[in-house]
Structure formats: C-alpha cells, structure tokens
C-alpha cells in the first residue's frame, strides 16, 4: 500500500513531458506500482489533450500528406499489439520494476553491484542518455542508520524499493516516494531490521536535504 505519493507539480510535469530524465525514471518506477498516481497522470494528460484540441492550428506543408502516405506503404514493423507484451511489475521486494530494469543489468536487487561509499552506505550509479547535471542512482543504507541534517536546495526524488526509513514526514516503505520541496526539513533514519534500498534522482549538484544527499555530501564534499 502506497502512502507517500508524487507531488501534483510532478504529476503535471509528467503529463506535460517536462521532467528531467533522471526524475522521469524515478517517476516511472513509482507509477509502476501506484495506480492512484497513474490515474492522476491520466487526468492531467486529458488537460493536454484538450489544449491540443483547441490550439490555433499551423498548416501542414503541401507535400506532407503525400510523403506520409508513401511511408505507409513501406514494409511495416510487426503490428505493435502483437509484439508488445508489457512485463507486469509486481513491485515485490527483490523484483526490479520494469522502468528501472532497462537501466540495470540484473534481475534482482540482490545482484546489484554495490560500491562502498561510507560506513553503512553503498551506491550504484545509473547511466542517463543526456548530460544535464542531474544524477540517477541507487542506494543501499544499513538498518538503523541515522543521518544528520544538512543544507537545502535542488530537486530530489527518492523511491523506496525495499526496506524502509522514517523521518518527520512519516515512514517510507516499498512503493513510497519522497518528492521533496526545497523548504522541507526532516531527519531520515533507516528503520531497524533490514537495509533500505532506494532509487534516487537529484537535479542540483550541490546541496539537498533528503536521505540520499545527506549521506553523500561529506563524501562528495559539496
């Protein structure tokens, strides 16, 4: 059961296609197991549909239709309905949600090649197609680890995949997303019993205040 959802500004940026790529991946992973947020995105997309319907039109070039009709004759890809078998995501711990799977070379969270960052903190960076100054990475943080507060700034999105942490906003377990506004202050601590594995997107390379960034600030030295 998802308790912490995407902020409505993120929902709108998702529907309008204005997310940073790293954020888009985390959003896709959250949506993979959150029907409520998927509905919110669909409703927001309907706004886009209406705005498309009522936009002042721009005439297509004279050859456009003919050129397009010729392409329809070209040897077709196999019908999309036949070849698209969406992989159903169960979201269970140990599964890699489908939108994340293509960024990772392994099938389970246990097989991720973690790199030691600091005591109780491991990290695995994921490649992005464009270099925008944002980062996408996974974290595995030891049970019970508390993190002191640092400064604020930048956009940060944290999706919990396994385990949980608690801060002033509540408990964040598998399926929950921390979609943090810049002004929010909190002190995250991984709950006892098992490590917490998260997927994180950060936009600003400098200061942030979520679970992930606190851990990495002293390491990165920012």
């Amino acid at each position: 059961m998802v308790h912490h959802h995407l902020d409505s500004t993120t929902i709108l940026d998702t529907a309008s296609g204005n997310l940073d790529e790293a954020v888009a991946v985390v959003v896709a992973v959250h949506l993979a197991t959150c029907p409520e947020c998927r509905q919110a995105v669909r409703t927001a997309e309907a706004v886009g549909g209406d705005l498309l319907e009522t936009i002042e039109t721009a005439e297509m070039s004279t050859g456009a239709l003919d050129s397009l009709l010729k392409k329809l004759d070209a040897p077709a890809d196999p019908a999309p309905a036949a070849t698209m078998k969406p992989r159903r995501s169960t979201g269970a711990a140990g599964d890699i949600p489908q939108p994340l799977h293509r960024y990772i070379g392994v099938d389970t969270l246990d097989d991720i090649p973690w790199q030691w960052v600091a005591p109780g903190v491991e990290r695995h960076a994921l490649p992005l197609s464009s270099s925008t100054g944002s980062s996408l990475y996974m974290l595995r943080i030891a049970a019970g680890k508390a993190v002191p507060e640092h400064g604020h700034g930048g956009v940060e999105l944290t999706q919990v995949l396994s385990g949980s942490y608690t801060d002033d906003l509540g408990r964040f377990g598998p399926g929950d997303v921390a979609d943090l506004d810049e002004e929010v202050e909190h002190r995250p601590r991984v709950d006892a019993g098992e490590p917490c594995i998260c997927l994180v997107a950060t936009e600003a390379p400098t200061r942030f205040k979520g679970l992930a960034s606190r851990l990495l600030q002293p390491v990165i030295g920012i």
């Binding site: 509905q39 549909g49 209406d50 498309l52 329809l72 159903r88």
Partner: protein, 199 residues
C-alpha cells in the same frame, strides 16, 4: 456519423469543420482495416494541431512539420493500442506528440514515458474518472480551464502547450519557484475536482 471525406466549412470559412468527427471510430478503422481515408481525416485534424504545438515548443516550421508527420506515423502504427475507454483521441495523440517533443526538442529519452504506457496497458482497467474523461469532447476540460484564474491558466498552458518545466516557467515569469509551484498545485486541485464531478 459523417463520412471521413465529408468536409464542411466552419461558419467563419476558416477551413474544414471536422470538430465533430468521431475520432475514436477513425482510429479504430485504421487499427482494424488500415483504412487510409480514416487516416487522412485524422491527419487533417491533428497534423496542424501537433505542428502548432511544436512551434510553440520552439521548433521552426520545417522541424515542426517533420515532428507532426512522425506523430501521425506513430498514430498509424499504434492505432491498435488506443484505449477509447481510457481517454479521448486528442489525449492519446497529445501523449504521442509529447513523447516526440521530448525526443526531438528536449533531446532526452522518452523511454520512461513509454514504460509508463506499458504499465498502464498491463495493469489498469478504466475507472469512473477515465470514463468521464473519455466521454468529454473538448468540453469539460475547456470549461475547467476557463474557470481558473489567469495566473494559474497561464502556467498550465506554458507547461502543456509550450513544454516548459516548472523551474523554467519561474525563470520566464521572474517568479520564485515556490510561487509557480503553489499556483500549479491550486490549478491542479481545481481541475481535478472539476473533472471528477460526474453529476
């Protein structure tokens, strides 16, 4: 239901009055029969709209024309994937155009969005909210948008039509990001309430 080739002028003589064409039916004909007449009707209606959207997103006319053609090509290829009970034709085509805008104008991967589409196809059955949205024909959402204060409506337009992110809107309007976000949240809450009210 009019034939796809029937072209009547709007009262102001501005061109084909195809606002009442049954677009889901046209898409279904493309999906089932590879019906070119149906495709031409969809092209006539949506091509110029997608092109306008790309121009407002910063493309020049040639690039906008190209992206609009690509969008209609995707409509042809993926017609079988349109779910008429989950949203309107214009919403579906908007999402195709949006993904093209991400790929071609933002130069980013639209893959995460395609993954979301796949999740929906696999998981979701239409909700009551979906049925309201699918049933409306440029009416309900238009009314809801008209009910917003101008400062909120503008942000919605800049997001969807011009493809500008929250932080870029803040820069463009010389407003704090927090102010843009507050207005966006208010607009979204109002729109959602209006669109959920089925009575």
């Amino acid at each position: 239901m009019g034939s796809a080739l029937q072209v009547t002028e709007t009262p102001d003589g501005k061109g084909p009055d195809d606002r009442n064409d049954d677009h889901p039916a046209l898409i279904a004909r493309v999906a089932a029969d590879r019906d070119r007449q149906a495709f031409v009707a969809l092209f006539s209606h949506f091509g110029p709209r997608v092109k306008a959207m790309m121009i407002k997103g910063g493309a020049d006319h040639a690039l906008a024309d190209d992206i609009a053609q690509d969008t209609m090509m995707t409509v042809w290829r993926k017609a079988a994937l349109f779910a008429a009970d989950r949203g309107s034709a214009s919403t579906w085509i908007f999402t195709i155009a949006r993904n093209a805008r991400i790929d071609r104008l933002r130069r980013q991967a639209s893959q995460p969005y395609e993954d979301i589409d796949n999740v929906e196809l696999a998981s979701d059955t239409p909700t009551a909210e979906d049925e309201v949205l699918a049933g409306q024909r440029a009416g309900r959402v238009t009314d809801a948008l008209a009910g917003l204060p101008e400062e909120q409506r503008l942000i919605i337009e800049l997001s969807f039509v011009h493809g500008i992110s929250q932080s870029d809107i803040a820069a463009r309007l010389s407003l704090p990001l927090g102010t843009v976000k507050s207005r966006t949240r208010l607009a979204y809450a109002k729109l959602r309430t209006e669109l959920r009210d089925v009575t």
